[in-house]
């Protein structure tokens, strides 16, 4: 950490110099490309980190989400998220087995972070009308799915601060991918 700060301090004068010509910056070796504007970056920066870094301003509750759901989702997912042609959104009642991997491939159950639910709805829904939900509506629908699966209360407000704090059932039950390095076998001992 100390080394990082030292490094940053050393770079400071360079950064100040760069700041004046940032709008004209090109790649150093080939002199191609340009610096994107802040607006350009913000418009495309839609992959949401588990920490919620990229979440836009907005908020919503499950109660508000119920209205948006009726208008935008119920046609395919059914009136309560358990029927319809599209995938089920609510876990099945299985009192004997509450392990998230035994409750089916249901978005709010399988997703390890609540931010993944927001991300999925924001980029992928409604089918063939992607990109037509406002940020508030995505917060509202995320809150509704979390409430239906008994993860938050009906009046709990989801926003950029509260959403990443929701502890999801699959938070620690998924397997990380291997720490990949070039030339490694995919799995030692498989199957010999």
């Amino acid at each position: 950490m100390g080394a990082c700060i030292m490094r940053s301090l050393k770079l400071l004068p360079v950064l100040i110099l760069l700041g004046t010509s940032a709008a004209l910056a090109q790649s150093p070796t080939f002199g191609l490309g340009r610096t994107p504007t802040t607006q350009e970056v913000r418009a495309w920066d839609i992959s949401i980190s588990p920490t919620g870094l990229e979440l836009p301003p907005g908020q919503g509750t499950a109660a508000q989400g119920a209205r948006v759901y009726r208008l935008r989702c119920a046609r395919c997912h059914g009136s309560d998220g358990t029927e319809g042609r599209a995938p089920r959104l609510v876990k099945r009642e299985r009192p004997a087995d509450t392990h998230p991997w035994n409750l089916g491939r249901i978005l709010p159950i399988r997703a390890p972070y609540a931010t993944a639910v927001w991300d999925y709805i924001n980029r992928g829904m409604p089918l063939n009308r992607e990109g037509t939900l406002s940020a508030d509506e995505v917060y509202q629908l995320t809150a509704l799915l979390l409430h239906w699966n008994e993860l938050i209360a009906e009046d709990e407000v989801m926003d950029p601060k509260s959403l990443p704090l929701v502890i999801m059932p699959n938070r620690d039950a998924w397997a990380a991918l291997p720490d990949w390095t070039p030339g490694m076998p995919r799995l030692l001992g498989y199957p010999h």
């Binding site: 910056a25 980029r123 030339g183 799995l187």
Partner: protein
């Protein structure tokens, strides 16, 4: 040069005459009255006029006698009731050599997708996040950068054989191999300057779901290609026109198409594509990441019919996500004896390698097998070995198990998975 001019003029004149002939075809045609509809031309024998159609001059078509086509995987309608196109398999039984023709390359999407219509003049690639210099490139700028041209397969992690599959297109059709041209992602990342702590990238497309995948920086700096061409021409729309990444040897979904953005980040981002590919078990997860050593006999394969006993060249394809194919072995007696197959050309890293084996069939029932050994020593397992590893029947993770084809005494060929 000057002496060539008269020839060229003569050719142009001849071309004009042929074009004229085409419009007068109804009068001059030797086959009789002009068909009421252009469609029925298909049914006629080939006349000289057919060689002058604008279609054949501008962009060549294959012979009308060659009918090999792709098929929707597992009989799932495509497009489906939502109008979405799902996985479509390559007719491997007809493939000759290592390269899959672009028109026959398998096609898969995250959840089903409508192929976007993208104007390359408007398309941009942004490199941002934990970099010293955020950059945005036009397609023309990307094409000015140093490029590479490499042969790589792309295989869907869902490409798994089962006893239900009758033909190779069903059991193995979701792998294809093309010659890809583009800029190494490492070139672009070095231009942008990756900051300390930048350990992952998120690659994202521009299509309706903005399909995105997380990839480790080690892979990004190793061999990922930001590709704009395949098999000598721009990418096909289904393959990501005008820009995609090719992630050599990793499961197909990671090779993000219609690419518009690379973000350098500090952790696995659990994006749209990543979420759907989570695994509970770490061994299972590892097997879904890098494709294992794999091979399959394409001729003879399920659904084919041998006309009789005698000589056959057994043919197939081998590949591995671990590097180049080192060796392929073939058994024509159900696995009792194995012999080295002939490899076509020099095997390339993470690329299909065609192989062949001379075989004289004595007319008795037998089972044909092939297995791939790659350059890092990984050996393609049998389904029995895989079941033993997991302690239960079936194949978990990406399936690279040995495919058995049973040849009956009547010459019919069947999938021999029990």
């Amino acid at each position: 040069m000057g002496s060539k001019q008269p020839d060229r003029r003569a050719f142009l004149k001849r071309g004009a005459a042929l074009a004229g002939g085409l419009t007068l075809g109804g009068v001059e045609s030797a086959v009789g009255p002009e068909p009421a509809s252009g469609q029925s031309v298909e049914d006629q024998s080939v006349e000289p006029d057919d060689y002058s159609t604008p279609e054949l001059i501008a962009y060549g078509k294959r012979s009308r006698h060659v009918t090999s086509v792709r098929e929707p995987v597992n009989g799932r309608p495509s497009p489906d009731e939502f109008g979405l196109v799902f996985h479509i398999g390559t007719p491997l039984q007809d493939q000759v050599g290592a390269i899959t023709p672009s028109s026959l390359h398998y096609f898969g999407t995250t959840r089903g997708s409508i192929v976007p219509e993208i104007d390359p003049a408007e398309h941009r690639l942004m490199i941002h996040g934990m970099v010293d210099r955020e950059l945005i490139f036009t397609m023309d700028e990307l094409k000015r950068l140093p490029s590479v041209t490499r042969l790589h397969f792309i295989e869907c992690a869902g490409n798994r054989s089962s006893s239900r599959h009758r033909t190779i297109i069903e059991s193995h059709g979701m792998t294809s191999c093309a010659e890809w041209t583009g800029v190494l992602l490492s070139t672009l990342l070095e231009e942008a300057g990756v900051q300390e702590g930048g350990t992952w990238i998120v690659a994202e497309g521009i299509e309706e779901v903005k399909g995105a995948s997380s990839l480790p920086m080690a892979k990004a700096m190793d061999d990922i290609i930001v590709a704009y061409a395949m098999n000598g021409e721009p990418l096909r729309p289904q393959q990501g026109f005008p820009l995609r990444i090719v992630v050599p040897g990793f499961e197909g979904i990671l090779s993000v198409k219609w690419l518009r953005r690379i973000k350098v980040v500090d952790q696995f981002y659990m994006t749209y594509n990543d979420y759907g590919h989570l695994r509970r078990d770490s061994d299972d997860a590892a097997l879904s990441y890098q494709i294992g050593p794999k091979s399959v006999i394409t001729v003879p394969s399920g659904g084919q019919q041998l006309p009789g006993m005698g000589f056959y060249e057994v043919r197939g394809l081998a590949w591995s996500g671990g590097g180049a194919v080192a060796r392929v072995e073939v058994s024509t007696d159900g696995g009792e004896s194995w012999f080295a197959a002939d490899l076509r050309g020099t095997p390339q890293r993470m690329a299909h390698t065609a192989f062949s084996f001379d075989w004289t069939w004595d007319g008795s029932e037998t089972v044909l097998l092939s297995r791939c050994i790659d350059e890092i020593g990984q050996v393609q397992p049998t389904r029995e070995q895989v079941a033993e590893f997991w302690g239960r029947p079936g194949v978990r993770g990406q399936d690279n198990s040995i495919q058995p084809w049973r040849v009956e005494s009547d010459g019919s060929v069947h999938n021999a998975i029990a």
